[in-house]
């Protein structure tokens, strides 16, 4: 079942410039849907619209089969959002934060108490119950933030870049939390992130946004060619050597020259040894030889350029 359906969504700035222009986007129930994109791509604006916070100019949005504009109150009962900024109240205790959120959703007192205990256990927050919330680290605050938003057992949990500024250890714990939320509670997770590895680790479906539009979307396998593209970077002592290597040694390869650096696209990791051997055999000195993983920006460039039927990054 499609739990979120977006058709022809347009959202403009006050100055009439388009922030979002999405033809079609759907999210299936029970999946982790990741929205990837650089700053300014429109990810947070989309989340703000889907969580009923922002209005939009035109288009049709249905959440749980309900029209976003006409049935926003019904939709609000079934969603929660872990916003970019940690939104817990530091003047309340850990338990009070959970109870306050539960009261907003009208959960009965006894049930609320049970849920609070369950989520404190589930998200390993028991040892922090007696400490003031203001003394928590960023990672613990984020875990509490997620627990607070899970207290209403939402059907859809939106997470807007939940691991930004969080240390790697806490990030891994949060990833585990998200998987547990999906598996145990069947919650659909709508995640926005900057991190490719986060999207790869968690997502059932990925959507890549650029300038308010969808650049590409699909499962991890569908987007494999973009995400897992392998590039070899070779840095030479001078531009002459780099040019020589491009013209004479790697003339049959897909190569891009940038000053004294060469970038080669490869299909498999086995080629690394082969290319290294060629350079050594031809006695060409180099300063650096390494495998690069494309960053998000390079992936976007590649997708956008490919859409223009060009050679992408290799132009």
């Amino acid at each position: 079942m499609e739990i979120i359906q977006i058709k022809n969504l347009i959202k403009k700035y006050k100055n009439e410039k388009k922030v979002l222009d999405i033809k079609k986007l759907t999210v299936k129930q029970g999946e982790i849907f990741s929205l990837l994109g650089p700053n300014g791509a429109g990810k947070s604006t989309l989340i703000n619209i889907l969580t009923t916070y922002l209005d939009y100019d035109s288009g049709e949005i249905k959440i749980l089969g309900k029209n976003l504009r006409e049935e926003s109150k019904e939709i609000r009962k079934n969603i929660a959002c872990v916003a970019q900024n940690i939104s817990i109240d530091e003047h309340l205790s850990l338990e009070e934060n959970l109870i306050f959120q539960g009261n907003l959703y009208g959960i009965a007192k006894e049930e609320l108490k049970k849920r609070a205990e369950r989520f404190i256990d589930e998200f390993e927050l028991k040892e922090y119950v007696k400490s003031p919330v203001s003394t928590y680290s960023g990672g613990i605050k984020r875990r509490l933030d997620i627990a607070v938003n899970m207290i209403s057992c939402p059907k859809i949990l939106f997470l807007d870049e939940p691991t930004v500024g969080i240390d790697i250890h806490s990030r891994k714990i949060i990833w585990e939390m998200m998987k547990r939320i999906k598996d145990k509670y069947g919650t659909t997770i709508f995640l926005t992130t900057h991190y490719l590895e986060e999207a790869q680790e968690l997502s059932d479906y990925i959507c890549i946004m650029k300038n308010g539009d969808i650049a590409a979307q699909g499962t991890i396998n569908d987007l494999e060619k973009y995400i897992n593209q392998k590039i070899i970077k070779i840095e030479f002592e001078n531009e002459k050597n780099a040019e020589y290597a491009k013209e004479k040694i790697f003339k049959d390869k897909s190569v891009r020259l940038k000053k004294n650096e060469l970038y080669l696209k490869i299909d498999s990791q086995d080629e690394i040894i082969y290319l290294n051997k060629i350079l050594l055999d031809n006695k060409i000195d180099f300063l650096y030889f390494g495998l690069l993983k494309p960053n998000l920006e390079e992936i976007f460039i590649n997708i956008m350029d490919e859409n223009r039927e060009s050679e992408g990054i290799w132009q």
């Binding site: 922002l54 939009y56 003047h91 309340l92 959703y105």
Partner: protein, 251 residues
């Protein structure tokens, strides 16, 4: 009703930040203790007796301006820490969000009013119309605090940041206070200034409370007129604020 939920949460914040109460009561208290002493000599003949009794209604309005008028600032704090957004996307009624906030602010105003009334009682300032008068004054002060806190809440939704908010509040509060009968009796005012003072609804509120305090009877006509104006203004500001909170936000 989620009004209680919002109310309790805000009260907890207030208890942990008593400085907000101290700061908003400080200025009215200084006016009550020092200005009255300084002005008493010159104003005695004009106000016909105890100047503290005369000035107290104006000081009570000033303390409401100070506490309820600045209450919108908490919206900027909660917008920054994200809880404003979290509350707004929850299924509670928008009116409950506003009312929970307003009632907490009004409670703080009444706490400060209570403190000022206790202090002024040491200077022989009483409500001459008795218990009935006290109840009417409480209702009138409630309407004043509701209106002031409502305007403050509306401004916090409309203005982009705290600086703009405080600029507007400070620009509004002092002229409204001085262009009223808070410090001087109406009988001494003439010309355009008198017209401006009479156009200020807070003048009528101050006069109504003052008359209930100074006289042994209640002029119901005056109370209904003032209360009616404030009730209508409260409804208008509440509906405008509700529309603002319900309406789609722009980026």
């Amino acid at each position: 009703m989620a009004i209680g939920t919002i109310f309790k949460r805000n009260i907890k914040w207030r208890i942990q930040n008593p400085i907000t109460i101290i700061m908003s009561i400080l200025q009215p208290m200084l006016w009550l203790l020092f200005y009255t002493k300084a002005a008493e000599m010159t104003m005695k003949g004009e106000t016909g007796g105890n100047y503290i009794e005369f000035i107290l209604p104006g000081i009570l309005i000033l303390v409401i301006f100070s506490s309820s008028g600045s209450s919108g600032i908490s919206n900027y704090i909660t917008k920054k820490n994200g809880s404003f957004y979290r509350i707004l996307i929850s299924p509670i009624k928008r009116s409950d969000i506003i009312l929970g906030h307003l009632f907490e602010t009004i409670s703080v105003s009444f706490l400060e009013i209570g403190i000022l009334v206790i202090i002024s009682s040491f200077f022989s300032s009483y409500v001459n119309s008795g218990i009935k008068g006290i109840i009417v004054i409480i209702i009138l002060l409630f309407l004043t605090a509701f209106l002031t806190a409502g305007i403050s809440y509306f401004l916090s939704l409309s203005l982009p940041n705290e600086d703009a908010f405080f600029t507007v509040i400070n620009t509004l509060v002092l002229p409204i206070f001085f262009v009223s009968t808070a410090l001087f009796p109406l009988k001494n005012m003439t010309g355009n200034f008198r017209v401006m003072v009479l156009l200020n609804p807070f003048t009528h509120m101050i006069e109504s409370i003052r008359n209930i305090m100074l006289n042994e009877y209640i002029c119901w006509k005056e109370v209904i007129f003032t209360g009616g104006i404030f009730f209508i203004l409260c409804c208008i500001i509440f509906l405008i604020t509700l529309g603002k909170l319900k309406g789609g936000k722009k980026v």
